[in-house]
């Protein structure tokens, strides 16, 4: 019986040691690149198909969590917010035939789409809200991406504590998804400042970090390599997956 107890104790100790081994391996570049292969697999096998479920008005969450800084500390943003975003212009440029500088009035005059969808955070929580605004596919049709363009990049007014800008990106195909939205309104009212006013991205088929708040500049590009750490987004540059579908 002592022998069995010894075996059991050794096994328990070995299991507890797994965490230490796992932590060590996490810092290993080669091992990391092996782990990263799962992202390509998920992108290929799950991809972006079908439509996110749309809910009824009664299912909207009473308290939609905020998971970022309350409002950007950016001086220009503060100035625009004080002026009720009247001087705000959304810039759409890059590899497009017809670059745009659009005021909120111009955005509101474009065809408006609405959706009541669930926002799935990478942390694990979910909240339901109604979003309305201009679909990205309409915006891309207006601007006309050129041949060779592959990605749509969203630059925002937000920066982290170190001054690093928050940005996000989608492939052109993901941006053409009918539910990919440049939202102007949340639950029927203009988006509040802490929820991404005046324009935010809403991509209900991917995790919440894709849905960048406070979008100021949309850039159509051929490659993501030249932007910041080159992974296609602020959180992606910190190690999160560019394909945030799972």
């Amino acid at each position: 019986m002592k022998r069995k107890l010894f075996i059991a104790t050794s096994l328990s100790a070995a299991l507890a040691g797994c965490g230490a081994v796992g932590t060590k391996l996490t810092g290993n570049q080669g091992f990391q690149s092996v782990l990263h292969t799962a992202e390509d697999l998920n992108l290929k096998l799950i991809g972006t198909h079908g439509l996110a479920h749309e809910y009824s008005l009664g299912e909207i969450s009473g308290d939609f969590p905020i998971n970022s800084f309350d409002t950007p500390s950016d001086a220009l943003y503060k100035h625009l917010a004080r002026a009720a975003f009247r001087p705000f212009r959304l810039i759409v440029d890059g590899m497009v035939d017809r670059p745009q500088r659009l005021s909120l009035a111009q955005l509101a005059a474009m065809p408006q789409a609405a959706q009541i969808t669930r926002h799935d955070c990478v942390e694990g929580w979910s909240a339901i809200a109604q979003w309305s605004g201009v679909t990205l596919s309409d915006m891309l049709a207006l601007t006309g991406p050129r041949a060779g363009a592959h990605y749509v990049v969203f630059h925002t007014f937000d920066r982290d504590a170190n001054g690093l800008p928050y940005y996000e990106s989608l492939s052109l195909a993901q941006a053409m998804h009918p539910q990919a939205l440049l939202a102007l309104r949340q639950n029927g009212a203009p988006i509040p400042a802490d929820r991404g006013a005046p324009v935010r991205l809403k991509v209900p088929t991917q995790l919440g970090y894709k849905s960048a708040k406070w979008v100021r500049h949309i850039e159509v590009v051929a490659s993501l390599d030249h932007l910041f750490a080159g992974k296609g987004g602020y959180w992606e540059d910190q190690g999160y997956e560019w394909y945030a579908g799972i």
Partner: protein, 267 residues
Amino acid sequence: MQTGKVVYRHSAVTRLTHWLFFIAFLALVSSGLQIFNAAPYLDASDKTDPARRVLQISSPRENVGATTVFGRTFTTTGWLGWTDDGMGGKTDRAFPGWITIPSYQDLADGRRWHLFFAWVMVFCGVAYLIWGIGRHDLRELLLRPSDVKKLLPMQLYYLRLRKEPPAHGKYNPLQKLAYTMVLFVFAPLIVLSGLALSPSFDAAVPWVTVLFGGRQFARLWHFVLMIALCGFFAMHVMLVITTGFRNHITSMITGRYKLGAHDGVGI
């Protein structure tokens, strides 16, 4: 029975997928607890809803950890809620650093581990099952209709209410029940409930998330199924230790197993 006779018990595919599955299982549990720590509560609902909260691990104040299950709160300082931060200190963290990968709070790397080893687990399971069709490894492991009536006598034997186990093959009826449940119920359900958490998978195959009662409910199922598989794992390891540890380990490495008193009649 021919006690002492050495037989070739586990084929190479069984042995390889067994150990890969074992590594994947440890990695998935540890990285899964890391991911859980980012939102340490589980709701029986689609969207997050504190009114339908089943489990919450929290730290109500400095140096105190608390776990609330179905509205009843227990103090779990040191184990859950207020635990080691994986960097030598203590902090408000649901599962402690010694059980998570990485040990410190790091959702991005936890997800990388989890999503990679999920594929390893699926690959092992599918490879083992496809390869096992019509082969003795799998056939002798699965519960058959004729085993059902032997389940109770076998349980009575384990409870020492019966002198002899019912006649059975390489695995006894309760073992077969456990393996069959793991292979065909728990493993597929834990994969599906994990996929149900994916917004893209939900858009592509909406009935899966609905089947589990919504996204947050699927997260709860995923956790409960993990506990069930850990229970199986603990039982499995305990039986391996108590019925000839060396013999079992040797057979799962080399394939060769020495028949003993624990093996059923009729091998």
